[in-house]
Symmetry: D2
Subunit: 343 residues, 4 copies
């Protein structure tokens, strides 16, 4: 069986995690990784070359597939370079620091129609999310009326990720880094957004990037969405409540490496007026985070069978990033302070 030669640009927590799941796919073979913090040579115990410069790796390794797990400032550049050098590319979110960067990527993508480009929005692959989407699509509970979502943690900067506070490198803060996942899910459930009212703030952590973003939105189809992305939520929280005409779905907790967002559950309660607001509830607890595995497998399949990318396409990535920027933009103070543009 043919194996694709894979290179991983950026070998921090995420790059290493990707490596682990790439190894589980028999179509893929990691031949090289690169990271500015490593020494050139070989990975311990593995026959994998190590680079410090992703440009050098891309030029020298004749890769079939490039995984981009770099800092935000070079994500788009590396993606473009990969495409130019004939690589299928899988790039982590955010797809770039801003819309302009992603537009450039898409231009390059169009010039290479035989190459697959996929972005890592793994939340769509969580079992609780997939089940919720299936239920919504079934129509069993009617249409969505409104959505409330909170994604929060207690800080922006960690030891490994000090660069996240640097606007020049990161491009944005908690909304661009973590909240973008929920923005993506909001688009998944509510469709495209028509109106946005927002507040964006960095007044708590006093960094160059936002530590809180609040948005009140209305979708084209009339769904109202309340959303908060925050780095001042002292108890880690992932909560997405979808109110439909005949029932409610609550996604609470999400499996992650840290386990800090709590157990991943989907709770369903039907409209039942007779129950006095206390309908019988159903809860499923998901034990496995298969999102990383399934996302990579789907990408490998697209490459191998020449199938268009469905989830995490460049178009989806662009629209999700655009919604992030529209949230920035609608806070006039924030827009002016950081010269936010939405093409």
């Amino acid at each position: 069986m043919k194996q694709y030669r894979v290179g991983i640009a950026g070998y921090g927590v995420v790059g290493r995690r990707r490596h682990q799941f790439i190894n589980q796919n028999s179509l893929l073979n990691v031949v090289s990784v690169c990271d500015v913090t490593m020494a050139e040579g070989k990975l311990e115990r593995e026959d994998v070359r190590v680079y410090t410069d992703y440009q050098k790796m891309i030029r020298e390794e004749k890769l079939d597939i490039l995984f981009v797990c770099l800092t935000n400032d070079v994500a788009a550049h590396a993606t473009i370079l990969g495409l130019i050098n004939g690589c299928h590319v899988f790039c982590e979110k955010p797809p770039g620091r801003n819309l302009q960067e992603v537009s450039e990527v898409i231009k390059t993508e169009k010039l290479n129609p035989n190459l697959k480009l996929k972005y890592g929005f793994n939340h769509r692959y969580h079992d609780s999310v997939r089940e919720a989407l299936k239920i919504v699509k079934s129509g069993e509970y009617g249409k969505i009326i409104n959505i409330r979502g909170v994604y929060g943690k207690s800080t922006i900067v960690s030891v490994e990720n000090g660069w996240r506070a640097n606007r020049e490198i990161a491009g944005g803060g908690i909304l661009l880094d973590q909240g973008i996942h929920m923005v993506d899910l909001i688009r998944l459930f509510a469709g495209e957004i028509d109106e946005i009212k927002s507040y964006v703030s960095n007044s708590y952590w006093n960094l160059e990037v936002e530590d809180n973003a609040f948005a009140l939105m209305k979708s084209n189809s009339g769904v109202i969405i309340q959303f908060q992305s925050t780095a001042t939520e002292w108890r880690h929280r992932f909560n997405l409540q979808i109110n439909l005409e005949k029932g409610t779905l609550v996604l609470s907790g999400i499996l992650s490496g840290s386990k800090s967002y709590g157990q991943e559950t989907l709770t369903i309660f039907p409209q039942d007026i007779q129950s006095g607001g206390n309908p019988k509830t159903e809860t499923v607890n998901y034990l496995e985070d298969n999102s990383w595995r399934d996302e990579i497998n789907e990408f490998a399949k697209c490459v191998n069978e020449n199938i268009p990318v469905q989830t995490g396409s460049s178009s989806d990535a662009y629209e999700t990033l655009k919604l992030v920027y529209r949230i920035y933009f609608e806070d006039a103070e924030w827009r002016n302070k950081y010269n936010i543009k939405v093409e």
Copy 2:
């Protein structure tokens, strides 16, 4: 000991409930009640006259104190009539259908400076709320950063309260009826509101009054508030999360006659970055709803000792109602459709 002669105008669920708690206060003596649905005469087993017309009751009974538990359309009128006839008045929320009505009340109040006027915003008297306020004021957790609140139930109209769907009588829907309590608490914690962005809708129940109101607000002091008042929340819910600089307070559930909002709890979790977003939490479960008793006792004391009304003053009632109307107003479509005015 002197007992004050009390009349209760409006003898539905709320009027009867007030009666029960008035009976527990030895300063107060209910001598008459009135309700359009009752027959004139005497209350069974009680030496209490029954009227069908509140105007007649107020004119004939030489009351010291009037409780106004009527429908919204006559609340302000009865309050004014009580004041004019020399009664101290306790009036349920909302203080009127709109700001104009309450302005008229306040004018009358000013002409009768010796009379006490208090409004029934009993949520401020719930033990969980009082404890939360005490903690916030202590400064232990620093200043408030932001607040998220949801108050929801599964319908607007019940058998007894069919009039709530009638705009002419009710003046407004779920926000004016139930959400106003949380609006009042938001003012209590965040202070006066500077900016408001909102959506107001009646598209689910298709009544003349709103079944959903969403607001994104900023207080004068910079606190951001996300708030939803809803009649399409299939599981009754009262949840108010107050994020402070060094910790979070969550008020979840609230004791009520129906028990349908769940146990009334206050959960505290401190900022503890080292905990990875899982700080030690403290939870208190409140078993007793003393709000009705305490609210009436405080009013009786104000009357008896000639003390100014602190909680639920006409000024507070006006400002809270005004915030409700500003939420209506800021949704341009709603404003135009129902000719909303905010003086």
Copy 3:
């Protein structure tokens, strides 16, 4: 319509609570109450005579129905006296201090076959219990394998109930007073008990009556039961888990006047080996405690229509009390210390 003349012997918390629910039944009319702590005369605002001596009340009032809400030491005596005087009798649990007393009651009952005798085991009337019983009987989840039950509170003695610590008056402690309800439910679900292993102790509160009872039991049909009745459970708790062959029912929390046992819920989770021990769960939250109302209504119906008592018959009361005594008896130390006998 004929109304039955009702007397209530014992007018503490329970007697007064019964009065409230008797008033809701149009077949019943309370004409007298008695309590050693009251003054003779009339109840305020009610046309109800007050006695201090239940014997005098029974002799003088020509009652149709007697409610016995007295202390345990005179419960059986009053019941017998009621029957002898031609009253239908409703007696609170426990039916007496010991089996001998209840045997005497049953002898008297047999001499008056036209009179109804019912005991107050209201837990069987809670909606969560009724629903659980219905599910078990449906056979949907197969037979019961085992049961775990805990009923606990944080003290035996309260201000009103100081006599509960007096062995001469109370006959027993937490097991006889509170635990007897769960013993009754265990009989309801598991049937009669074959083997018992137990520990009974008063070592914490150092009163004459038990503050803890633990039982490990096997029913005739092979169901194993673990049960603890305790007055050293610092958080009030009612929890009864019924493990069946194909699923589990958990009764958690129970509605009571104090609300201190938490919300009354029934949670169901099916056997689902594929789920890795995390099957989809269903939860119902019960908002109303209709047990007191329904129990009295059923009794009134039995009296009025001359139907045999089904729930809370003297036979049931005897067997439940016997099981309590067998739990006492099987702890040899306790048996010897307090000369426990099980006929």
Copy 4:
């Protein structure tokens, strides 16, 4: 730095997991593994020899340290062989199929006083357990009154572990395999056990080994313990409630590879009679299972610094296994059916 040559006998799920954590300790170096299901040769990507026969591995490899992760039937034999061949030995629970086997191990251990022998009871190393033990020992809440424990899962046999249903190989069922951890914790908190009353059953799964064990026990110091080990608990459960004189500790959930036992929490609620059985509760959620790492590190330290084994000594392992066997023994039917002996 000297590294100890480590061999792992038994390379299933547990053996591989140990390997992972041994690799994290710089004192230890895995040079060989063995498993009957593997092919001889080398581990992929690692310089580790693979055996199929543990006896051959022990004889040929000149190991310093042997990890025994074999099936129960050969655990004691391999341990003895390791000691005879001069290895320090770390052996998984259970230490053997029965007490006789462990007695033989201890005899061999005494002949090799320079060798360390440690058993894998990793639950003592969970952070929630350690914190609870610390609180108990602090005396803050007084002495332990009683303990309730349940450890349950939904089956005995899994694909990999079909041998667990084979009495000849496994020696026992759910109690010996999983319940033994909680038996060990019961000894940790309550001390040695004086009296035992029990039921042991295999009537659900109809295997040769028990699927349920119930024990009602009293410790030498008077603590009463209710304990159930079960393979018919349809929702995985780990719950250990420790009632002390002035408060209660609840250990609920426990981190494991499967995450199926829920989040690992320690909840504390103090005695607070005034609270009406609803004291303020404190909850800590533990995010990391450091038990495997810490257990191995402690063993490595004992070996390296010649310190006696404290946790998981052969004496502890023997006493814990003995308590398991006493629970078997006290059910007369079970004792006779399987000829249970307790020396």
